[in-house]
């Protein structure tokens, strides 16, 4: 009987989506540990939240780059669009939280479709730079519309007409805790959806399109349809992440959404491996997380913040040069290495 339970657990663990659930539980535990006093630093939890939010963007980007083969440099503008739309709908117009997120997603759908149509005409490096151009226009609009001040979003007070769990006029941090517990399940759901999508006919069609448009067309794949899908999903994810960013961090200015953020997300996807979701999350952890989670606590890096840039720069160069598939392959390569070592050990022990 005991063995059959072990087998059952093993079978559940082998399910491709289980890794996301485990990751989600680990991420939830971060805040639990913080409340329990095991993790002392609030900056640690905030960095984890940052990694989660940007991972959502990176997952959409991975679909766009790794599957559909379309490069975009406009990601940051789209995240900013989410953040500023929340500013407009939730904070200025007073629309409830869930509805304002839904409004953002509808707008994202339209914007994504527009970029998808543009991608039919403009290709390759031109597309990347035109998306950068559009993102710059968006950021300029934020600057003109909202000025150069930092925006602070008021704490969420109500949720479907009831008082938001954890809200009290003085204990603001608890609201952030509840936001964190909302954030993690959303992240897991998005990861599962994306993972399923990548292994569905849609994902396969995108892969075919990536290698050659003409060949994909010859196989009866509608390039228009799948480009639109890829851009809509990437845009919706980016805007959604922007909404979540706003509700968690609650402040923004237009300078947050420049070219550097787009490049960082691109770097996270490339370093992690553009075809693997877990790789993307790992890449986001390396690019956005390590700094705030660990390096800030080491006295050497506190005094020499420049070394953080140097380390991440060197890491990107080394990974791209010597590990072009991304760190997602690390696990597989380690497995192969262990198997080889085992074989050698057997040869050594028992002879050939």
């Amino acid at each position: 009987m005991g063995q059959s339970i072990a087998l059952r657990i093993k079978r559940v663990l082998k399910h491709p989506l289980s890794s996301f659930v485990i990751l989600g539980i680990v991420l939830l535990l971060v805040n639990v540990f913080y409340r329990a006093g095991i993790i002392q630093d609030i900056a640690f939890v905030r960095s984890v939240a940052r990694v989660i939010i940007y991972s959502i963007v990176a997952m959409g980007f991975s679909l766009l780059l790794g599957y559909a083969g379309l490069a975009s440099l406009g990601t940051s503008g789209l995240i900013g669009l989410g953040a500023f739309l929340i500013q407009l709908t939730y904070s200025q117009k007073g629309i409830p939280m869930v509805i304002s997120i839904l409004i953002c997603l509808v707008i994202a759908l339209v914007v994504g479709a527009l970029i998808g149509f543009i991608s039919l005409r403009i290709e390759g490096m031109y597309l990347a730079i035109i998306t950068l151009c559009l993102s710059t226009i968006l950021v300029e609009l934020f600057r003109i519309g909202w000025g150069t001040d930092t925006f602070n979003l008021p704490r969420v007070q109500t949720f479907f007409g009831k008082e938001f769990p954890g809200y009290s006029s003085d204990g603001g941090l608890l609201v952030r805790d509840v936001m964190y517990y909302i954030l993690v399940p959303l992240f897991v759901i998005v990861a599962m959806l994306t993972s399923n999508l990548m292994r569905s006919p849609t994902g396969r069609a995108m892969l075919a399109m990536k290698d050659s448009d003409s060949a994909a067309k010859a196989m009866g794949i509608s390039v228009l349809k799948y480009r639109l899908i890829a851009f809509i999903i990437a845009t919706v994810y980016a805007v959604f992440a922007g909404c979540l960013y706003m509700f968690y961090f609650r402040s923004t200015t237009y300078t947050d959404w420049g070219l550097a953020l787009s490049l960082n997300i691109l770097a996270a996807v490339i370093v992690g491996g553009s075809k693997s979701l877990l790789g993307c999350i790992l890449g986001c952890f390396i690019i956005f997380g390590i700094d705030g989670m660990f390096l800030q606590n080491i006295p050497f890096f506190q005094n020499n913040t420049n070394f953080i840039y140097i380390i991440s720069g060197a890491l990107i160069i080394i990974v791209v040069m010597f590990y072009p598939g991304g760190l997602a392959h690390l696990w597989l390569d380690l497995k192969i290495l262990i198997r080889k070592l085992k074989l050698k050990w057997r040869h050594y022990k028992y002879g050939d």
Binding site: Y126, L132, A267, S312, L315
Partner: protein, 291 residues
């Protein structure tokens, strides 16, 4: 303020952006990647020049020469150490390499040059006005513009008429075939990176006195350089320069017509619409890939 004054005001940015654009295009054609590190390399050149000038009292002209030469060597070094070994990396991967260089330099600049804010002196502080006092421009802009024009003209003449130029064009059109024809493509890409570093530094030297020298000072120039490349077409050499002339002039004209806050939006929208109509830029040609 007449149209002539607008042109005069645009002069400095025409010089800066066209130099930056030339570097981006040279690297794009020989290494097939958009070089995000272009602005960072140029900034390092600016830092070298200012440090030599203010800390060690080197004469201005000598410091400029040293900065340009150092960045030429630095460009060659980057190609020899990093880019050459990444020939089989995808174009996006190569972009990431240059992004890594940007981060590396962002960290290294304060370590090497210190965290102080520095101000570079202008080439010349005189301001020239015509007799009726309707037109005015600074000598600094004029010198910068002439310098940029001479350098760009020299590079174009070399591209057109020398063996080196022929090799660059051959490498740009097809690296493998160029290799078969006996062209040492390694030297060609290396020198292209070197020239990109040198012209970038020149742009930084012209731009630095107008603002403060910081690691991020060239980022907007770089973005406009990319826009110029897209507007003119990455596949030609002359197109991006035309783009680099159009962008500052257009921006100043829009600003003059009264829409000062909206000028960036208008310029980017125009670029977007032009590229939507001509997807390969104004001068670019479409290269059809075989299946």
């Amino acid at each position: 303020m007449g149209i002539l004054q607008i042109l005069l005001n645009s002069m400095q940015f025409i010089a800066i952006i066209s130099l930056a654009t030339l570097g981006i295009v040279l690297i794009f054609q020989t290494s097939i990647t958009t070089n995000f590190a272009q602005s960072m390399i140029a900034t390092v050149g600016g830092f070298i020049s200012v440090t030599l000038l203010t800390k060690y009292g080197v004469p201005a002209l000598a410091s400029y020469f040293i900065a340009v030469a150092a960045m030429f060597l630095f460009g060659v070094f980057i190609d020899a150490v990093i880019i050459r070994f990444a020939r089989h990396v995808t174009p996006v991967g190569k972009q990431m390499l240059t992004m890594g260089i940007v981060l590396l330099l962002t960290g290294l600049i304060p370590l090497v040059f210190g965290n102080v804010v520095m101000q570079a002196p202008k080439f010349s502080n005189t301001i020239i006005t015509n007799a009726s006092n309707t037109l005015s421009f600074s000598m600094h802009n004029l010198i910068g513009f002439i310098l940029a024009a001479v350098v760009i003209a020299a590079i174009f003449i070399c591209l057109k008429f020398t063996k080196w130029g022929l090799s660059v064009r051959a490498t740009a059109s097809n690296e493998t075939v160029a290799k078969m024809m006996g062209i040492n493509t390694r030297i060609i890409t290396g020198v292209s990176w070197g020239i990109a570093g040198a012209v970038g530094t020149l742009a930084a030297l012209i731009y630095a006195p107008l603002t403060q020298i910081t690691p991020t000072m060239m980022v907007s120039v770089q973005v406009q350089g990319f826009m110029a490349c897209v507007l003119g077409g990455f596949t030609s050499f002359i197109g991006p320069i035309v783009g680099a002339i159009i962008i500052p002039v257009l921006r100043n004209i829009v600003g003059y017509l009264g829409a000062d806050t909206w000028k960036d939006v208008v310029v980017y929208l125009v670029i977007f619409l032009v590229v939507l109509i001509k997807p390969m830029g104004l001068f670019g040609k479409k290269i059809v890939k075989k299946v």
